[in-house]
C-alpha cells in the first residue's frame, strides 16, 4: 500500500494542453451519444425499462464526468496530471507514432486488398505484407539490423501462414504467394 507521491513540480500550464484536447473529445463524444440515445426506438412489447434508458444514463453520466474532467484541466487544474502529461510530452517522439500508425494502416490494407468505389486494389497477401511490415515497423522503432528483421519477418510470416491455414483451419489471404504456387 502506498500513498500518492507528490514531488515539488514546475508550473503545470504547459502540461494540460493534451488533457484539454482529451476533455474536448470526451465532451463531443458524450454529446453525440446523448443525441444518439434519444433516437433509439422504444421497441415492441412491454418492459419496465426500454432499450433507450441505459444508453441515455450512460451518455449523461459520461457527459457529467467529461465536464468535471474539463474543469480539472482548466479552472481547477489537476497539477499531478499536468506534471505527468508534461513529462510524457517531453518523452514522446511524435514522428515515430505517426509513422507507425501509417505503416500499420498500410499493412492492414495490403493484407487482402480493398475496394475504393468501383476500383478494387489487390492485396499482397499475408506472407508478403507481413514480411515487409515487420522489418519496416522495427526500423521505425529504431532497429539498426535490417537483415535480421527481414529474416525474422518472413520466418514469422511463413510459419504463421502455414500453421494457420494448414493446421488451424483459419483462412489467410494468399495474395502474391497464391500467384506463385
Amino acid at each position: 500500500m502506498t500513498t500518492e507521491e507528490r514531488e515539488p513540480r514546475a508550473t503545470p500550464a504547459g502540461g494540460l494542453f493534451g488533457p484539454r484536447l482529451a476533455a474536448t473529445a470526451l465532451l463531443v463524444l458524450a454529446a453525440v451519444l446523448i443525441m444518439s440515445a434519444f433516437g433509439i426506438a422504444a421497441g415492441g412489447g412491454y418492459s419496465v425499462i426500454g432499450p433507450a434508458t441505459i444508453p441515455l444514463v450512460v451518455a449523461i453520466v459520461l457527459l457529467a464526468l467529461a465536464a468535471i474532467f474539463a474543469l480539472r484541466t482548466t479552472i481547477l487544474p489537476d497539477t499531478d496530471l499536468a506534471a505527468s502529461a508534461a513529462d510524457e510530452e517531453r518523452a514522446t517522439h511524435w514522428p515515430t507514432i505517426g509513422l507507425v500508425a501509417i505503416t500499420l494502416i498500410g499493412y492492414a490494407l495490403a493484407l487482402d486488398g480493398f475496394s475504393m468505389g468501383p476500383r478494387v486494389v489487390p492485396g499482397l497477401g499475408y506472407v508478403v505484407a507481413t514480411g515487409i511490415f515487420l522489418p519496416l515497423a522495427s526500423r521505425i522503432l529504431g532497429s539498426g539490423s535490417p537483415i535480421r528483421d527481414v529474416t525474422v519477418g518472413f520466418t514469422i510470416a511463413i510459419v504463421v501462414y502455414i500453421g494457420f491455414t494448414q493446421f488451424l483451419g483459419v483462412r489467410l489471404p494468399a495474395g502474391l504467394l497464391g500467384l506463385l504456387l
Binding site: M1, S36, L65, A85, L104, F164
Partner: protein, 504 residues
Amino acid sequence: MDVLGDLAGGFSTALSLQNLLFAAIGVTLGTLVGVLPGIGPALTVALLLPLTYNFDATGAFIMFAGIYYGGMYGGSTTSILLNTPGESSSVVTTIEGFQMAKRGRGGAALATAAIGSFVAGTISTLAITFLAPVIAGFARSFQPADYVALMIVAFVSITALIGRSLLRGMISLFLGLFIGLIGIDNLTGQPRFTFGLPQLLNGLDVVVVAVGLFAVGEALYVASRLRHDKEEIVPVQGSLLMNRDEFKRSWKPWLRGTAIGFPIGALPAGGAEIPTFLSYGLEKRLNPKAPWGKGAIEGVAGPEAANNAAFSGVLVPLLTLGIPTSATAAILLVAFQIYNLQPGPLLFVNSPELVWALIASLYVGNVMLLVLNLPLIRLWVKILSVPRSLLYAAILVFATLGVYSLANSLVDVLIMYVIGVIGFFMRRYDFPVGPMILGVILGPMLESQFRRALQISQGDLTVFVSRPISAILLLSAIFIVVLPYIPRLFGRGQRLVFGSGSDD
C-alpha cells in the same frame, strides 16, 4: 467426500496426454508473455481466442489457465532483473527484487518468487477446490437484483481502488459501458449507438477491444518513448538457490502472502495488485530488521505469494458467480461464452467434467511452472534481450493477425487500430484501461440483469435494497468508494492508491 471424487475425475481428464500437452503449452506461453514487458496474460488469451474455436473446451481452458498462472511467474522475472514490472501485479516485487539482483542475489530472488508462487498457487487451488462448490451452491439462490449489486461491487472496486484518479477510472469505465452497448439490444432488437453503420449491428467483439487496448495501445505507447527510455538488465549472478538463511526468512512471508492474497482475490473486490501492496506493508512491519530498500527477501517472497494467491482467488467469483474481477478474468469469461458455457452457479451442475478438469489442471500447472522456472531461469532471462523494436513490431503483427482471423474483416482490424489509438492516449494521460474492459464485458450483463430485476419487481427500485444480499453488497460498494479517502479524513494523509491499474 464428494469433492475428492470429483477432483479425482478431474485429474484423470487433466492428466491425459493431450491435456498435459495443452497445460505445457499454456504455462510456457504464459511465462513467455509474463517475462516480456508490455504483454500480459489478458492480451495473450484474447489473441488466442480466435484460434481455439476448433479446440475442445477442456483443452482450451487448461491452456488458458496455464497462461494465466504462467504470466504471474514470468512477471516476477522481469521485475527482479529489469526493474520493470512485467505485469501490474508485480510492481511491488521490483522494489526489493531489483535491489537483490543488483547485489548479486538475483538468483535467490527469482527462486523465492518461484517457490513462493508454487506454495501460494497450491494452497489457493486447494482452497478453490473446497470453497468453489460451496459458494456455487449458495449462489444458486441469487436473484437478478443480487447480481446487479455484485457487478456494481466489481465495477466500484476496480475503478475506485486501482489507478490514481477516481474520475479518470470512472471515465474509462463509462467509455467501456458505451462500447458494450453498441449493437442490437438483446431484449427488443433495437439498434443502439450504431450510427447507421451495418458493421456495428453485431456490436464490437471484445477481442477487438481487448487487443486494441492492450496490444496496439501499449505498442504505440512504447513506440512513442522508445528513443527516450533506456533499460538496464541485471545479469543473474551466483547461485540460483536460496541459502539456508534466505529460506528461513522466506517461508513465513509465503504463507502470510497467501493468506492475504487469496481472500482478497476471491472477494468480488479482487484484482491481484492490492494484496501485493498489503503483503509488502505487512512484511515491512513484521520484519523491521530486514534490509528494506536494499534487497529484503521478505519483500519479494510475500508479494509474489500474494499475487499468485490472488490470481487463484479471482477464479472463485469467475467460476461460481460468473463475475470477473480483473481484466484477465474478464477475457476468460468471454472465452467461456464462446464455448456457450455460462460461468456461474450452474456451471458446476452443467459442466462438472470441465470445471474439475480445470481445477485439477491448476495443480498440474503449478508443478509444471516450478519445474519450468527454476532450472530454466537463465533461458527466460535471454528472452529479455530481444530487441524492443523487433518485439513491438511483432506484437503489432500478432495483434493484427488475431483480429483479422476472427472474421477476415478489414473493418475489424481498422476499428481495433482506432481503439489502440484511444488506448495510447489513455495510457498517456493516466486513464486506467482495466475499468474499460470490465465495462465492455460486464456492462451488457449488468443491463440485462437490471432489466430483469425490475421486470420481476414491476418497476420497483427498492428491490435492490430490500433483499439482504444485494443490500449488503451495495453497502460494501459504498465502503469501497470511501475507503481510499479515509486517511484524508484523519489528518493530512492522502488518497490511498493500490497500483497503476494498467494491466490486470
